[in-house]
Amino acid sequence: MGEGAKAAPQTTSIPLTQQPPVAALHQDAGLNQSMVTTSIDALIGWGRKNSLWPFTFGTACCAIEFMALAASKYDLARFGAEFMRFSPRQSDLLIVAGTITYKQAPILRRIWEQMMEPRWVISVGACASTGGFYDCYCTLPGIDEIVPVDVYIAGCPPRPEAYIEALLQLQDKIQDSSYMKDRAAANHQRIQVG
């Protein structure tokens, strides 16, 4: 490859009539001009962030705002996340929209456990994020007690703009996360266990 790179400037000094055919030039140029090189992490991050499949765990009015988000005015499809799957096994983004009670908490946990890796969680609104004004015996004070949350949204209920803001933040987070590092860590763990 080093030789090819050195040979390339020499070919330019040859008069036009004596120049080798284009195919031969490309051969000389070496691998760095005939291949698209990119970081696997960047490619996977790009793929993941632009095809989020949300699972809406809607229990209250935040889910109504989510319908507004998915409808034509705010159009979630612009961000590649329009494919609502009401099946945890086929989705990778859990949107918890609404009040979660202690009775419902194990169900939410189970749904999160059923989702495939990689998975992300958005906690929508005051109730899901902190319990809101339900300071009572039956309401979970924030779903981060039972599932890890990536992005929180404030509001009661939040406007679709806030949803979009959260989605963009999550996309940045996904782009920044390293697939290769995660895979190496998982392999390391498997070796340790086995």
Binding site: R78, T130, F133, D144, A154, G155, P158, E161, A162, I164
Partner: protein, 188 residues
Amino acid sequence: MARTVPRPEMTLAEKAYVPEIVKGLKVTMGHFLRGLFTPETLPVQSYPETPSVIPRNYRAKHRLMKRPDGEPRCVACMMCSTACPANCITIQAGESADDRIEKKPVKFEIDLLVCVFCGLCAEACPVDAIRMDTRIVALAADSREKFKVGLKDLMSWEPKDYPDNDTQSQKAPGGLLNAEAKKQWGIS
């Protein structure tokens, strides 16, 4: 007695199936081509590029009003935190340096994630110190701590785009730059 609903007979074209499918595809393709060539006619609002028009009386993120001398107008009476149904306002009162005023908030913290944006704090305030007219609605972050906003954050919002004759303008009565108020406060 059951009522019989007369069913219309299908015409030959309808029975042939294909022409009707073509008709349906025409509608679909019409919508597709409209979106492709004249995207401005679509009902979509491309949000991050085109900001939403939010009415001024929409209850959005809070702000604290300032006195002409730059101090918060709040007198730490705790009315807002008492009225708050979600208990998201934390006020710590301190002694005011100005001898005309008894107290001032040393710490004024609103947890926006707990807040339900009901507007009761703004209604309860006796000195019109807290308002919810910033029109900041897209509040999202990756940790719960980031939603706790203090005095500095709450006082940083300026109604820049309001004209001078507007009631929310800084030159209007109650504003920072109002000449009358400045005179009363002894600020030239």
